[in-house]
Symmetry: C2
Subunit: 206 residues, 2 copies
């Protein structure tokens, strides 16, 4: 299969993927958005949250998303939020390309994660991620603003949304600023799960 | 079963249920949002769009939504948009209560639809709709602003969203202004269909 560029996020029914600020807990809502994934064995192990966890279809989806990913691209804001939060062995275990104006030497972490800081735009970051990913796919890991930049540039092939049964009312919208006159979608698969709904789409130019 | 208050809408993946203004066509997007329903035999017949159409599970969902409804509640804006567009035999075939400041005598149409204009608020309109519906349910038929008023007042029991594979980018958001600190959801059913995804939720206070 040819290499794909994709993203995969959990979204509230009203379209949000995160609270307004990284340190805002949003009470119950944030947990309700993420609850399905925090219960999965693969996710728990990969984020060093401890052993145990579910091993059903949800877990398989989390594992497959990880295994298909040969490199990730991150926006600067998401990197900043994660930098202090990820363990010394971050959950990527691959090269990660951070789109930023900041010049910084590559930052190698335990377990195979290396952050590269790219200063010349989203196309360049993607090009480098494509090369680094080899036969595997490239994940645009977030945040929302970065995902929309890639969507509007016609650079996303497909994506997965885990639609969780919660309303945020405010926060970071996944599709804020999307150019709907250029982006068409096709539904590939909708898969019910007890605590979320897995939706897969391919992206096409209009 | 006790009488339920519900709504049922088609929503884009980025949370919109209509274009900005009723006469705006939004090109292809509006059709992509509604395409699944315009193909259903029951919908076509009920809106006098002609014979024919599909008779599968999607058609059954449209028919069941109609048959459970003993009365509808409409916001003034949606009534205004529909007044000139509905046929002489509008698709409700039940009493419809329009929440409005305008004083107006009941307007009886062909086929059992009677519009009643309610001037003393959403609770009053719902109370009258509940009575008129008898053993059947009350549908809050829209638009988005009216649905959110009922959601925030804790007056919705359950709802159905047909999530269509399209991005709008702008328009009327279904959940604009929802008070997420008071409204919790539980996922009842997610049902894939070729051109939309049927999602059913119950609503609970936080």
């Amino acid at each position: 299969m040819p290499q794909k560029v994709f993203f995969s996020v959990s979204m509230s029914l009203d379209g949000f993927i995160a609270p307004e600020s990284p340190d805002e807990l949003m009470g119950q809502q944030w947990m309700e958005l993420q609850r399905w994934v925090f219960r999965q064995r693969f996710f728990r192990k990969n984020l060093k949250l401890g052993e145990g966890g579910e091993e059903g279809r949800d877990n398989e989806i989390v594992r497959q998303t990880f295994e298909r990913t040969g490199a990730s691209v991150l926006g600067k804001r998401m990197f900043d939020a994660g930098e202090g939060a990820w363990p010394e062995d971050p959950p990527f275990h691959t090269p990660v390309f951070v789109v930023t104006h900041e010049e910084r030497a590559p930052w190698e972490r335990q377990g195979g994660t290396i952050f590269h800081f790219v200063n010349d735009g989203i196309e360049s970051a993607l090009e480098r991620a494509r090369e680094a990913a080899g036969a595997r796919d490239v994940r645009i890991a977030g945040g929302g603003e970065t995902i929309v930049q890639y969507l509007n540039a016609g650079l996303i092939d497909e994506f997965h949304v885990a639609l969780s049964p919660v309303l945020f009312g405010s926060g970071v919208r996944l599709f804020e600023g999307v150019d709907a006159s250029r982006v068409a979608l096709a539904l590939v698969r909708a898969e019910p799960s007890p605590e979320t709904t897995h939706l897969s789409y391919t992206v096409h130019p209009r």
